[in-house]
Amino acid sequence: MITRRDFLKSASSAALAASAARPVLTWAAGDSTLPVPGKEGLIVRSYRFLDLETPVEYFNTWITPAEHFFVRNHMHEPATLDPSDWKLSIGGEVDKPYTLSLAQLSKLETHSVVNTLECAGNGRAFQNPKVPGVQWQKGAVGTGRFTGPRLRDLLERAGVKATGKHVMFRGLDEVPGRVPPFIRSIPIEKAMHTDTLVATQMNGTALPKHHGFPARALTPGWVGAASCKWLTEIKVLDKEFEGNFMNPGYRWPNHPGKPGEAVKPEDTHPLTALNVKSLIASPGDGSTVHSGLLHVQGTAWAGEGDVVGVEVSTDDGRSWQPAQLGSERAHYAWRLWNFQWKAKSGDYAIAVRASDNLGHTQPTAPVWNQSGYLNNAIDQVRIHVKA
């Protein structure tokens, strides 16, 4: 168990590291990539803003270590974060607005949620036709144990008025030019859910800077954009927040059309929960393996639902066999899965599909939308088996 003293100590260390290790960027010849301490091996979608993807072969543990966890930033990370200066305000449609310091926040009762966090744009690179945005392939997803006070407790202390219908989060990320700030809101029902947190810890230690130090919203089962990082303001609103990242950003068509078709903004609604999805972590796409017993492994998740089955096909989707689900489980977390297959020499397409308790099974093709969100099409790898 982490004591308050331990947390504040690690928070201070994290803040110091965040400030001290901030690299000075210069454009010069000589090196081909920029080290990002603690994130070695991740796929670079962008350095500025920092967007890093996890290679699928790293998905062999139920909890994703922080150093392997993807990073999705819309803006520049806060240049400085001093835990002694940080404040969190709670206001808007409440009776008693108030402000908390990190020391005060850390005194509150905490709750832990193991949650699979996925960027809504994960899989965008596979949309056809191509759509603009960070070209995530498979790894803008990870599972962490998030710990912190319940958002509900913070809101109840302020006394939410009957007019309070949505809860807005504002972070400390630094906005360039006239870019709209990354502000979004969630409905009051989700905000008051006992599993929605103001997380101050990830995997048992203070949140790393790239993941929102010192506190982030954790809206479990929902798209990553609902879990605002570097949280500094919680505001109860009488209606959904109106801003770029609520509309036209992060919306889903009411009636998905044909690929490439334009959808009118009024025919869309905000993204909320993740959909059912699975990935093959091993063997890797394009790899060559020896014939014999082959362990096909991966992960499967379902947002607010539960994964009830994972099936694997080794014959290009003509037949499907059940995979064995791992024993580690939590409501919002992915399940590891494993499938043993006696592989004979030849070339194969291995595919995986998951089903959830809400009756959904992954589709063969992504549901078309203009931003490439929630691509949960069946994952497939091609391998060569040699004798």
Partner: protein, 114 residues
């Protein structure tokens, strides 16, 4: 600069913050062309070229993106608007080969290289 910012900058200097070099490579640099310099100036004020280089978009989609970015503060002279869209859709159109991303190098690898 605030007192806190000054203190952090001072601390960072004392701790000899490493100067890290970013290499414009074929995967992260904007290609040659009449609009290379103007595109670099207009776009990389806020984000690096890699964000552009990984896109594969039609001319219509590039037009929407450029107009959105101008609204968000990208400085593009009116006479450069259409040539800039041509430059982007020519170099990062739907017919271009798949973009291959870099991976974060380890500090150990960096030291070994040197």
């Amino acid at each position: 600069m605030s007192k806190l910012s000054s203190a952090v900058v001072g601390l960072a200097a004392l701790l000899a913050v490493p100067v890290v070099r970013l290499q414009p490579t074929s995967s992260s640099d904007l290609p040659e062309g009449l609009l290379q310099a103007k595109t670099t100036a207009a776009c990389t004020e806020c984000h690096e070229a890699r964000i552009i280089v990984q896109q594969r978009l039609s001319k219509a989609a590039w037009t929407k993106e450029v107009d959105k970015m101008i609204k968000w503060g990208a400085l593009v002279e009116p006479q450069d608007h259409d040539p800039l869209i041509d430059y982007l859709s020519t170099n990062f159109g739907v017919d271009k080969p798949e973009y291959v991303a870099d991976r974060i190098a380890s500090v150990r690898q960096k030291k070994t290289k040197k």
